[in-house]
């Protein structure tokens, strides 16, 4: 009897330690250390606390070849609600957690990794707030970096070549540059359509939306999701792959309600007007970033298309996106080049 009590006590104590700190998510001030939130059970932030669920997106934003691991947390008893073509409407107290890292060697992921930063989007009473925590050298704690940080990193890529990156942890304002929609902060990734794929959970392999319903994270989704394709999967149509890549990499700013709406260039998946997708569209306030070219996209002529040239460039006055990239995304450049040739 005594023994059982003791076990119970220990168990509840463990539960107490490994429970997400709900109050901290709602507080005005951010804690200095990532570990204060208790999203993870270990200092290296690899094993999530119960209730913190990993997820993946079908098509992901390019961030200088870094790898990303994502988790969602919804307070117990609460639910997110489905919105057509938009991110889920998450309840107050929710958190989206994303860790950026580089493997030591992409040819063998078991050789370990180096964590760069963990970004949080926290759903407070008055809306979403973004903050980033940069990992220390010893990789056992991440510290708040409101003004951003530069981390120099090297890794070995799939071809065995050593690559280096001047990785930028964004500052608080830069988070907003991409995440502002109609002036309010908003997540970008977790739309139902981007989650509509099978994921290997620790206990089962199942469609993520089904899993979220099983866990009562959500109650319903529409059947018409406009699910994008993984731009990286060559068995899909070229047009679908290209539009999917542009949607997730550009469409959060380049849409009629995004931060770049003054350009008139809209690359979100639901845009259908050729001019606004960039075809024979003249630049507006592009300056030298036009690279002496006349149109965003000239069908059949990638070398004359500003859009592609700005993807290739790494000059801060020219390149797109404006932040979060210092390297060219070679594979995507090939994709968009082929797509423009095919138009």
């Amino acid at each position: 009897m005594k023994k059982t009590l003791l076990v119970c006590l220990i168990l509840s104590f463990i539960d107490f330690i490994y429970a997400v700190n709900d109050d901290l998510i709602l507080e005005d001030k951010f804690p200095k250390k990532l570990s204060s939130f208790s999203f993870f059970q270990d200092n290296g932030a690899q094993s999530p606390t119960e209730g913190v669920l990993p997820y993946e997106l079908i098509s992901a934003l390019f961030s200088d070849y870094s790898y990303k691991q994502r988790w969602v947390y919804i307070p117990k008893g609460e639910q997110a609600s489905f919105r057509q073509d938009e991110v889920f409407d998450f309840p107050v107290g929710s958190a989206l957690i994303k860790t950026f890292y580089y493997p030591m060697d992409e040819r063998d992921l078991n050789l370990g990794q180096r964590l760069m930063e963990t970004r949080l989007l926290l759903r407070k009473e008055n809306g979403w707030e973004a903050v980033s925590y940069a990992w220390n050298e010893t990789q056992d704690e991440a510290f708040i970096k409101k003004a951003g940080k530069t981390i120099l990193n090297e890794w070995i890529d799939f071809n065995g070549d050593t690559r280096s990156v001047r990785y930028r942890v964004p500052n608080k304002n830069q988070c907003k540059e991409c995440h502002a929609n109609n002036d309010a902060m908003s997540p970008i990734g977790p739309k139902a359509r981007n989650l509509n794929k099978v994921f290997q959970y620790s206990d089962e392999s199942i469609n993520q939306l089904t899993k979220w319903m099983k866990l009562d994270f959500i109650s319903t989704v529409s059947e018409e999701l406009n699910t994008p394709v993984d731009w990286n999967e060559t068995n899909h149509l070229l047009d679908e792959r290209a539009r999917s890549y542009l949607d997730i990499n550009c469409g959060h700013c380049h849409s009629s309600s995004g931060a770049a709406n003054s350009t008139g260039l809209y690359l979100n998946l639901t845009e259908t007007r050729e001019k606004h997708i960039g075809i024979y569209k003249k630049p507006v306030a592009t300056g030298r970033a036009s690279g002496n070219l006349k149109y965003s996209i000239v069908p059949g002529k990638p070398e004359e298309s500003i859009l592609l040239q700005r993807m290739i460039s790494t000059d801060p006055g020219i390149m797109m996106p404006e932040s979060g990239r210092s390297l060219s995304h070679t594979e995507a450049i090939e994709l968009i080049e082929k797509w423009i040739l095919s138009l």
Partner: protein
């Protein structure tokens, strides 16, 4: 005495309760220090940078409402972005009710100062400059407020932008005054904007001095109610160095003022001279567009009481088509004021409503040239008309812009 001390203490403590002033000087870590200070400001606060030069590798940004970010003088506090490796502009402001003043932003890789989506932005005694002179590789804009309301640019200096020194785009309620724009492609450009007063400025040694433009396929278009007065649009003589593809790349060297599309534009009491192609040009948007909501024609334009001097003495036939067309039409006798005469088709037949007609009064001995589109289409008629007196008419002054 004790009372005075008490009062002083009370004032100090109440000030410190409601707002704070943060003062920073140059350091080896200015990037992080200044960016962190900008993030940590609260409404009512002031961030002051002491005299000196501050170096940045990344852009910096401000997103807190109702704060002041100031330096200690246009030549004393220098924000140097010459070694910038990331960020599409030097300084970005995205919040409301902000005043920035008394510093310079030099050699940004993209735009120097960009303000987006702000209601209330005061840019006072600031300088943006690319120090290597006019170059295609300079950033596009010096001052670049866009999608903003209640925009004040006062006592600023803009030098060397490869597009426009001072560019206000898709904004409303704008005052640009007491400022100097030199060695840019466009000195001052008001584009797709409503209610702008541009006065007491000097636009010289640019490719084009002052541009009032409207472009299609944008969230805000149909620019209107722009007053341009008491400016000097003089000696604009820099070769066009804009990268191709940009609308200002079409501006010929030696243009004083251009009005393109737009309605309700009043240009008065300006000094306009020393512009080798044309002192003042009023033109239709020259490209095809499928945008049904866009009006490519300028209308309700009033030009009065300006002082025109020498112009058209060195037409830039290399850039765009305007100068060569004008040179051919005028047979070398270049006018001070050119209107392309293009009207919507319906108005060619039915005539232009009186309130939309171009009015030009009291401009001294300014010369004029336009094309009569009907004569242009018929054989045996000379379409060129040069009688400015035909456009004399009553001036309907536009109301002044009031900022909130």
């Amino acid at each position: 005495m004790q009372n005075l001390l008490l009062i002083t203490l009370l004032v100090i403590s109440s000030l410190s309760l409601s707002s704070k002033q943060v003062v920073l000087g140059p350091s080896s870590d200015s990037q992080e220090e200044i960016q962190e200070a900008l993030i940590d400001l609260e409404p009512g606060d002031v961030l002051t940078l002491k005299s000196g030069e501050y170096f940045f590798e990344d852009g910096i940004s401000l997103d807190v409402d109702d704060v002041i970010f100031e330096g200690s003088g246009i030549n004393e506090t220098i924000l140097n972005f010459g070694s910038q490796v990331s960020g599409a502009q030097g300084l970005l402001v995205t919040s409301n009710g902000v005043t920035i003043r008394d510093f310079a932003v030099l050699d940004a890789k993209g735009d120097a100062i960009k303000v987006i989506g702000a209601d209330g932005i005061n840019m006072v005694r600031l300088r943006t400059e690319w120090q290597g002179g006019p170059k295609e590789t300079n950033g596009a804009y010096g001052f670049y407020p866009v999608e903003s309301k209640n925009v004040l640019i006062d006592g600023c200096v803009a030098i060397g932008a490869s597009d426009a020194g001072i560019y206000v785009g898709q904004s409303q309620h704008i005052i640009v005054k007491n400022s100097i724009a030199q060695y840019n492609v466009a000195g001052i450009e008001i584009e797709n904007s409503f209610y702008a007063d541009v006065f007491d400025n000097i636009a010289s040694h640019n490719t084009g001095g002052i541009l009032i433009f409207d472009l299609p396929d944008l969230p805000q278009q149909g620019g209107h109610h722009v007053r341009v007065f008491r400016n000097k649009a003089i000696n604009n003589d820099t070769d066009n160095f804009a990268p191709e593809g940009n609308i200002v790349g079409e501006v010929p060297r030696g243009t004083g003022i251009i009005i393109q599309a737009n309605s309700e534009v009043e240009v008065f009491d300006n000094d306009i001279y020393g512009n080798g192609t044309v002192n003042l040009s009023i033109v239709t948007y020259g490209y095809e567009t499928e945008d049904e909501n866009y009006n490519p024609h300028p209308k309700s334009i009033q030009i009065h009481g300006n002082r025109f001097g020498e112009g058209g003495f060195d037409p830039d036939v290399e850039t765009g088509e305007l100068a060569s067309i004008l040179f051919a039409l005028s047979e070398g006798d270049m006018p001070d004021i050119f209107w392309d005469g293009i009207l919507p088709t319906s108005q060619l037949i039915l005539g232009q409503p009186d309130n939309e007609k171009l009015v030009m009064s009291n401009n001294g001995d300014a010369t004029f040239l336009t094309l009569n589109p009907i004569k242009y289409m018929l054989p045996f008629f000379d379409p060129v008309e040069r009688d400015i007196a035909e456009y004399d008419g009553e001036i309907r002054p536009l109301p002044p812009v009031v900022l909130n």
